[in-house]
């Protein structure tokens, strides 16, 4: 199987889907699912394959290189699988909306271009796929209309800014080293001056930072994630921003080698520390902002930024454990964040688009499976032991503590406690509390929504108990980067400085849980009562009013909200406004009076001659 065939299937599938939709909606749905399934299966087949394919396509002088190794395999499979689930989830979600052909083909195009990015073996094809991803994402973000339009605008402008900056970096690399193929490029920068490396890092980091929503570049993400269709939000949050992560890993470990990267700068001012600190800021501020959100998807969007901060922190810190933690967290985040967006999407679907946390509640009685998905999702997000998020965070914390960076560790850990607050708020306000009367007749989510939710929930638990599987892959990626691999076993990590064994914890939790359950079961049975048989100081429970969800963390929010103005967003908006004002000002040059125009021409002429006569510049 060639990589080019994989890409051809991906891109061709996207195109064909559009035209199939003109024939029959049903066939198109099946075809879209089939294509994404095929992508996932084929991508998975490349496990442990390491190959390169070079095509001289005549794109200027650049060869078109595709390559697969464990690193890109890991990302490709994650992308394909999450993509598959999102497509399955879309089946019902999108059915009643207009423009479904467009939706599916763009969805497949985004997935295809992401697979293209991770499989490309040189920076030009990387860039091409990158831009295809950018604009197709833009079209999908704007799909929902209304507020989605400005969200899409924000996204594409930031994205284009990032990518043009990256283009400068790519071209600069090409002019210096005359090649853009990773394998030839890697190691060449060993001899470059540190100033040049810094220049390259900054250029690339802006582009990847925009996509990965690193703190001062994150402003596009909250509106984009919240306004996009939910299945696409899960793609956005689960894998698309991780393409930024992929880029950063590519930059640090492939283009610039890790030892070069670690030796840039000294102590607290070294590049790795600065990026780590940026990562920590990315964790902390968005976590607190997420606390203040009332829109379920916007809350998750801010949470996505915060989790991306963990990934950046882990990768930039640069020890082999932290990098493993970062990459593992990428994988975990892809699972649980797309799961959470699907959960919110299912609720949104059944409640006809309500995602305001203040007006939902009590849906656990109506949508139990969705609730369980949400619960497991937030457990993974928080990192409760036995879910996958735990191991990755544990790795990051551990290496930060043992390498004497307790303040970074502190900030990261504090972020976790913020995560508990907002994620409980999310699940409480949607599923717990009193069920409003208008939702009494809600049905449970349809099968095509429950299936991905269930599978992803199981995956969270599975990889939480058996973290060895992904860590094994990550280990071989790391040894590919020339780093010291971790000592792992299937249940966890067994290094000298700290061991973790999920089997022990799992057994303990299981046994103790069963024991407690037995005690519970043996003792007197309890009567099941409804939500209106509730303590209300003896009075009857008022319907629709007896729910505490508005301003759930009001005391804290009152304390912190003055400090949490999103001034970065304001800054960008004022920048945009000032550009617009400048444009309006400059437009005045064209007065509409032809006399002025003639004067311009004469003045231009006269000025040039005058300059030449006086100073003889030319």
């Amino acid at each position: 199987m060639n990589l080019i065939i994989l890409l051809a299937i991906a891109f061709g599938g996207a195109l064909i889907t559009y035209f199939l939709g003109k024939i029959s909606q049903k066939i198109r749905d099946i075809f879209a699912v089939f294509i994404s399934l095929a992508l996932a299966v084929i991508a998975a087949c490349f496990y442990n394959v390491s190959s390169r394919e070079i095509y001289y396509t005549g794109f200027l002088d650049f060869p078109f290189v595709l390559r697969v190794n464990t690193f890109s395999w890991f990302f490709a499979v994650t992308i394909a699988v999450i993509g598959l689930f999102s497509i399955i989830f879309s089946l019902n979600y999108i059915r009643k909306r207009g423009n479904t052909d467009f939706y599916y083909s763009m969805m497949l195009l985004v997935i295809a271009s992401m697979i293209g990015i991770v499989l490309s073996g040189d920076l030009v094809s990387f860039y091409i796929f990158w831009e295809i991803m950018s604009w197709s994402t833009f079209l999908l973000i704007s799909y929902n209309r209304g507020p989605a339009i400005s969200a899409g605008m924000k996204y594409i402008i930031m994205s284009v800014t990032g990518s043009v900056v990256m283009l400068v970096g790519i071209v600069s690399l090409y002019l210096h080293y005359d090649t853009l193929v990773y394998t030839e490029l890697s190691g060449l920068l060993n001899n470059a001056s540190s100033g040049y490396i810094l220049f390259i890092i900054i250029l690339f980091f802006i582009a990847f930072g925009v996509k990965n929503a690193i703190w001062p570049l994150h402003v596009w993400l909250p509106p984009a994630h919240s306004e996009a269709p939910s299945p696409f939000s899960s793609v956005l949050s689960g894998i698309l921003i991780k393409i930024g992560t992929y880029g950063i890993i590519l930059l640090i470990f492939v283009i610039i080698q890790i030892n070069v990267f670690l030796n840039l700068g000294e102590g607290i001012l070294s590049v790795r520390y600065i990026i780590s600190i940026i990562g920590v800021i990315t964790i902390l501020i968005p976590t607190f902002i997420a606390l203040l959100q009332d829109d379920a998807k916007r809350l998750l969007a801010w949470s996505t930024i915060a989790q991306a901060g963990y990934i950046i922190l882990g990768i930039a810190y640069g020890t082999s454990e932290s990098v493993a933690g970062g990459m593992f967290h990428f994988f975990n985040h892809a699972i649980f964040k797309s799961l959470l967006f699907m959960v919110v999407g299912a609720v949104e679907y059944r409640t006809n688009g309500v995602r305001d946390l203040n007006s939902l509640g009590g849906l656990i009685k109506k949508m139990p499976v969705t609730f369980i998905g949400g619960l497991i999702g937030i457990c993974g997000l928080i990192g409760v032991p036995l879910t996958n998020g735990f191991v990755s965070k544990w790795l990051i914390y551990k290496t930060l503590i043992l390498n004497n960076s307790p303040f970074l560790a502190f900030a990261a850990l504090l972020g976790t406690w913020g995560t508990i607050l907002y994620s409980y708020k999310l699940i409480h306000n949607m599923f717990l509390g009193q069920l409003p009367e208008k939702y009494e007749k809600i049905k449970k989510a349809p099968f095509s929504m429950q299936l991905p939710i269930v599978i992803l929930s199981l995956a969270i638990i599975f990889f939480g108990i058996i973290p060895g599987l992904p860590l094994h892959v990550i280990n071989s990626i790391e040894s590919g980067f020339g780093m010291e691999p971790l000592t792992i076993n299937i249940w966890g990590i067994a290094s000298d400085t700290g061991t973790i064994n999920m089997l022990n914890i799992f057994t303990a939790v299981l046994v103790i849980g069963i024991m407690v359950w037995l005690i519970f079961k043996v003792s007197k049975k309890s009567t099941v009562i409804g939500q209106y048989d509730n303590y209300a100081a003896g009075t009857t429970v008022p319907k629709d009013k007896y729910n505490y969800s508005v301003n759930f963390y009001d005391p804290l929010c009152r304390m912190i909200s003055p400090y949490l103005k999103d001034f970065i967003d304001d800054f960008y908006m004022s920048l945009a406004r000032s550009i617009k004002n400048t444009g309006n000002g400059i437009r005045r040059i064209y007065t509409g009076d032809v006399g002025h125009y003639v004067i311009y021409i004469i003045l231009f002429l006269a000025l040039l001659i005058f300059i030449q006569i006086n100073w003889e510049l030319w």
Binding site: S526, T527, V528, D533, Y535, G538, T539, T540
Partner: protein, 184 residues
């Protein structure tokens, strides 16, 4: 007091538990509540009998109705009583719940509380002193020992009677009749 005798404990721990851990819900309907603070604080210290005040009916198994019961307060009383887990005991405090007391001819006072919920014991007086509460508690112990503090069983058996009486006064009640929901 017999609380230190291990033999009895081993015979029926459940019953002993009920006796010595009376978590009381004070329903401050009227002036009777004024006698409760001294009862539970340093002067008389009800906690040495295991009687402590709790906040919600769910945690309580002793229901003290302190003072006269107006029509308006009857509904919360019934509601709270029904929300308490079984076994549960009720004590009417003062003469008003017994027969209306000084409000015997008031148009909106409940004269015979035991028509609406079962009462396990009465403390007569206006007001009864805190010592009377202890007398009531010790009396309740003997009743529990003999298995005669069975108001909650009566309520279950004669639910129709009570519900009828309640609805006669209060009109149609908002909540569905009890004892129809299934066990789990």
């Amino acid at each position: 007091m017999d609380r230190n005798k291990l033999g009895k404990w081993l015979q029926s721990p459940g019953k002993m538990g009920q006796k010595y851990s009376l978590h009381a819900l004070y329903f401050c309907t009227g002036c009777g509540i004024i006698e409760i603070p001294p009862t539970i604080t340093a002067r008389w210290d009800a906690e040495r009998f295991g009687v402590i005040p709790v906040a919600t009916p769910r945690q309580a198994n002793l229901f003290l109705i302190t003072g006269y019961v107006s029509v308006k307060t009857l509904r919360p009383i019934i509601r709270s009583y029904e929300q308490m887990p079984e076994p549960k005991f009720t004590v009417g405090f003062g003469s008003c719940p017994i027969n209306g007391g000084m409000y015997w001819d008031s148009y909106n006072t409940i004269k015979h509380l035991d028509k609406y919920i079962p009462i396990d014991g009465w403390i007569a007086g206006c007001m009864p002193r805190p010592e009377a509460v202890f007398v009531a508690v010790t009396h309740l112990w003997t009743l529990i020992d003999k298995g005669m503090a069975d108001g909650y069983k009566k309520y279950r058996e004669d639910y129709h009677y009570y519900r009828e009486n309640q609805e006669k006064i209060l009109g149609k009640l908002e909540w569905p009749p009890l004892f129809s929901s299934k066990k789990m």
